[in-house]
């Protein structure tokens, strides 16, 4: 468990320092490696640290499962690569020149690749790992190229030089496009997301939590660092691109998530959605900055940062929850679960909090960040260009739509997994997981609630980041004290999470108390079964059934493969004995984007390989004609 040690070490370093590091910015050149930590990286450090800490609590109990399962899986390798993975992320945050950045970036990719390929006996995992590494590689190359453009003008690969350089708009845009491509691929933005839902689910759950919860954030960190810090002068067109792609990712991500019945896969897709939200926030802020409204830009940036934080928390929580479920039931398929709330009550509570948070419901943290994003979007009238003014609200509406779809999605998850009655034997006999796992989930859940209720406090901490990047903090987020959240001014919008929280509790309690003044006995009875025989678990709505209406409305989004086969009774052909229905909702990006590219490569390879005929005459002819050609060229 060397990895675990590494984790703990990293975390303790953080828990002590993260807050202090937030303020101070120091640079230390070592050999050729420039390392530096400033508020931006400090913030991300804190995010990473929090999650890593929680997960380190989770791991021991969780891994016991693996050892019991398959002796040959070496925990040492797992621990080692986990450690390297985390180390890589820390280094990315610390890097202060492109070289170190790339090294640690790829270290992160490769080690996580090994983690994805950890349970390699399953072909799907291998395929996922391959795809992941491939796309990570391509993304990395794009990033490298982006840095190259900056360095080409800056003359050096240190970030200092890059900050100093003034790029021509065209080159700046090219650099941005490259970086956006690379980092976006890592962050899983549509349509470069294909690796994500493949790779995240197949890793061990705590790794999935790390990848979805943190690694995506590190990618976003790279994007922010590159765009705000290194390139510097931001153009609003970039923001527009980012906004559009962000909205697309949000909507598609959640729609795809809705139709998944494999829990971890679903969560992975919902990560895409949340990344979309974050990108939208960033896009907004870039639009504002690009058009000279820095204050609003700050607002958007803060919204994005806050969502980064929240998503790290609740997505980590949910993946850990999924891990806990798998640990207790060996199930990932929702349609085999059910009734877990009675088997694993505490996990159920934590998971519920996670679901509420990710669905962006008040008064939890997910809501705060979405609220901020909306507020940013609502400042569109400040813009001169009518086009932007009309695009932004639409994207906001898309955001709203996806928020509700997310809610739907997680009603489905929670309802099917935890409520109702068990749909399979193993689920019916699930046991609550051990204390460590519960602790880690509890911690994350608690943080979700806290960050939901005291946003002002958190934001006043985050302030340092825009302070550093844009030279000014948000105008008046917390001027009215910790109680009120007023991003622009109390006149424009205000939200007091604590009061809301308290009020809801109070009203609920009051009504409860009032109603229980006269203790009426509550009678327990069988549920109403319309007078037919008793209900059984197969009569419940399955996840697939639950998402059916949505699937019918947004049908064009997926490549749907639906087949219904009825087994008729031969004697009475009109009577249907049984009926099987199975539905595959495939990601359209495959058929549209990836398979064509793959085939292109294969065909090219086939064509190219024509030149090697195996006949020595041909080979001699090659060198013969090469010679002739060259001689002819040079004279």
């Amino acid at each position: 468990m060397s990895g675990l040690a590494a984790i703990m070490a990293g975390v303790w370093a953080l828990i002590d320092e993260a807050p202090t590091l937030d303020q101070l910015a120091l640079g230390l050149p070592w050999l050729k490696w420039h390392l530096r930590i400033d508020p931006l990286s400090g913030f991300f450090f804190a995010v990473v640290g929090l999650l890593v800490f929680a997960i380190s609590l989770f791991t021991p109990g969780y891994l016991r499962e693996y050892t019991r399962h398959d002796r040959k899986l070496s925990l040492a390798a797992l621990g080692l690569f986990t450690g390297l993975f985390i180390l890589g992320m820390y280094l990315v945050l610390l890097a202060d020149d492109a070289f170190v950045f790339m090294i640690s970036w790829e270290l992160m990719s490769v080690s996580s690749y090994f983690l994805v390929a950890y349970q390699h006996l399953n072909a799907a995992n291998r395929r996922a790992a391959f795809l992941y590494l491939l796309m990570a590689h391509i993304g990395g190359l794009a990033i490298l190229l982006g840095f190259g453009v900056l360095a080409g003008f800056g003359g050096s690969f240190t970030f200092e030089a890059m900050r100093a350089t003034e790029l021509s708009p065209v080159w700046a845009s090219i650099a941005f496009a490259l970086a956006f491509f690379g980092f976006g691929m890592k962050a899983g933005m549509v349509p470069l997301h294909a690796w994500l839902p493949e790779a995240h689910p197949v890793a061990p759950s705590h790794i999935s939590a790390l990848m979805s919860g943190v690694m995506l954030k590190v990618a976003l960190y790279g994007l922010i660092r590159f765009t705000y810090d290194l390139v510097g002068d931001i153009q609003w067109q970039w923001g527009l691109v980012m906004l559009v792609i962000g909205s697309a990712s949000t909507l598609l991500g959640v729609l795809y998530a809705l139709l998944r019945d494999n829990l971890k896969r679903l969560l992975a897709y919902s990560s895409i959605e949340n990344v979309g939200i974050i990108l939208s926030g960033l896009g907004l802020s870039m639009i504002f900055i690009g058009t000279g409204h820095d204050v609003l830009g700050v607002l958007g940036l803060i919204a994005a940062l806050y969502h980064i934080l929240s998503h790290a928390l609740f997505k980590g929580l949910l993946f850990l929850g999924a891990g806990a479920i798998a640990h207790a039931t060996h199930e990932y398929d929702l349609n085999n679960m059910g009734g877990l709330i009675k088997r694993m009550p505490q996990t159920a509570i934590f998971f519920l909090i996670g679901c509420l948070a990710i669905s962006g419901l008040p008064p939890l943290n997910g809501f705060v960040s979405e609220w901020l994003t909306f507020q940013a979007a609502l400042q569109a009238p400040a813009l001169e260009s009518g086009v932007l003014r009309s695009i932004i609200p639409v994207s906001a509406a898309v955001l709203a739509l996806s928020a509700v779809l997310a809610a739907t999605c997680f009603v489905k998850v929670y309802g099917v997994a935890f409520l109702g009655v068990a749909r399979s034997r193993r689920v019916a006999h699930a046991q609550e997981v051990d204390i460590g796992m519960r602790l880690s989930m509890g911690l994350l859940a608690l943080l979700c609630v806290l960050f939901g209720i005291f946003p002002s406090t958190v934001i006043s901490l985050i302030d340092a980041v825009p302070m550093m990047l844009l030279g000014q903090g948000p105008p008046s987020v917390a001027v009215h004290g910790w109680l009120w959240l007023t991003p622009i001014s109390p006149k424009v919008a205000s939200y007091s999470a604590p009061l809301v929280f308290v009020a809801v509790i109070v009203v609920a309690l009051v009504s409860y108390v009032l109603l229980h003044a006269r203790a009426l006995k509550i009678r327990r009875a069988h549920p109403w079964d319309c007078g037919f025989g008793s209900l059984n678990s197969r009569m419940q709505y399955t996840g697939t059934a639950f998402s059916m209406p949505i699937q019918r409305i947004f049908a064009p989004v997926w490549d749907l493969k639906e087949d219904i086969e009825e087994t008729k009774n031969p004697k009475q052909p009109l009577r249907t004995e049984g009926i099987r229905h199975q539905l595959q909702a495939l990601d359209k990006s495959w058929s549209r984007l990836y398979e064509p590219i793959g085939n292109l490569v294969l065909t090219t390879a086939r064509q190219v390989s024509r030149i090697q005929t195996g006949s020595i005459h041909t080979y001699l002819a090659y060198s013969f004609f090469t010679l002739i050609l060259l001689l002819w060229v040079v004279t």
Binding site: G338, G339, I341, L356, S359, L361, P362, F367, W371, F374, Q375, L378, A380, P381, E384, G386, S390, P393, V394, A396, A397, V398, A400, L401, A403, V404, T408, V411, K412, G415, V416, L419, G420, K491, V492, S494, Y495, S496, V500, A503, V507, A508, L515, L520, I522, R523, R524, A525, H526, P527, W528, L535, S537, M539, Q540, Y541, F546, P549, R552, I553
Partner: protein, 323 residues
């Protein structure tokens, strides 16, 4: 200093009173609607106070809960009721500038509805009957389609008033007097359609049916009984009223009290009553001419609503700000 503190408390007191008033008036509104409806369909009309009676009856009755029900099922009614009351508290009914309005803005309001819906849907699935799941699934679908429309409508308003704070918005329209805004008209229409959908009225849903093929909201709360049912019903009334108040006060704010003097408040009360009564009639007419539509026609319905509010937004951007 002292007076300030006093005033402060007075504000909060007023807010509390207004909220209670809101909660109290909700069943009345429903009763009124039912009555008018019956008159229109010339049936024998129940008294206006009938909803109160129903609630009381329900509160008295013993509560029966399915043996599989978990704590989610039991706590849902309270949560739903709590959130709805809270959202009622932030909607200016008779007076603006009340402190409660600052607690949360319209986005939070939408958030509350979503929260309530979330829990109702969970409760629907808690028992594990086919009806519950079906209801939840349909409810979530409708909610998913309705919410963006509502936000768009509200955004139109918020962008012209440049605030998302309800009472601010109201005062803004109040100040700007009677201006013919095409955007507002579109937004208002859109909002009405959403209100119909969200409050589960014809043509989207029919609160008075228990035919499994058609019921949506009823299917979720099928398992509820006694006081739980009462709370949920009450919350439903509240929701309807909130929507109507929103429509009436945001788009036709005239008469609402801007300062806390007795006569202003009196006027406010009268005004809102009149407006609600009127709206109720409109709703009834609408429900009488409309027929309940198939579940999968609802998307078209809401799509049209979305189109309306989008138009509202665009007209606002294009026509009214001259960008």
């Amino acid at each position: 200093m002292n007076t300030v503190a006093l005033e402060f408390n007075l504000d909060w007191l007023m807010a509390l009173i207004q909220t209670l008033l809101f909660v109290a008036m909700a069943p009345l509104l429903l009763g009124w609607i039912k009555r008018v409806k019956c008159h229109m369909q010339n049936r024998a009309a129940p008294p206006v106070l009938q909803p109160y009676r129903d609630l009381i009856k329900l509160f008295r009755k013993q509560t029966v809960i399915a043996d599989r029900a978990s704590w989610i099922f039991r706590s849902t009614p309270y949560i739903v009721f709590g959130t709805t009351v809270l959202s009622a508290a932030i909607v200016p009914l008779v007076a603006v500038d009340l402190p409660t309005a600052a607690i949360a803005d319209v986005i939070v309001l939408v958030g509350f509805f979503a929260l309530a819906r979330f829990f109702t849907a969970l409760a629907g699935m808690d028992i594990g009957t086919a009806f519950g799941g079906m209801g939840s699934s349909r409810e979530m679908m409708i909610g998913a389609l309705a919410e963006p429309v509502m936000l768009m409508a509200v955004f139109t308003l918020a962008m012209s008033a440049s605030t998302t704070n309800l009472s601010e918005a109201v005062t803004y329209t109040l100040k700007s007097g009677l201006v013919l805004r095409s955007s507002f008209i579109f937004a208002a229409l859109g909002l009405m359609m959403v209100a119909v959908a969200e409050a589960g009225r014809v043509p989207v849903d029919n609160p008075s049916t228990h035919l499994e093929l058609t019921m949506i909201h009823e299917a979720m709360i099928l398992e509820y009984s006694g006081r739980h049912l009462a709370l949920i019903e009450w919350a439903g009334f509240l929701k309807l009223m909130i929507y109507m108040v929103l429509i009436s006060n945001i788009f036709f704010p005239w008469g609402i009290a801007t300062e806390l003097t007795a006569e202003a408040l009196a006027i406010g009360v009268v005004a809102i009553t009149a407006k609600l009564a009127l709206l109720g009639v409109v709703l009834v007419i609408w429900e009488t001419v409309m027929a309940k539509m198939r579940l999968f026609r609802v998307p078209q319905f809401l799509g049209f609503a979305f189109l309306l509010s989008l138009l509202g937004m665009l007209t606002h951007v294009v026509l009214e700000t001259g960008g």
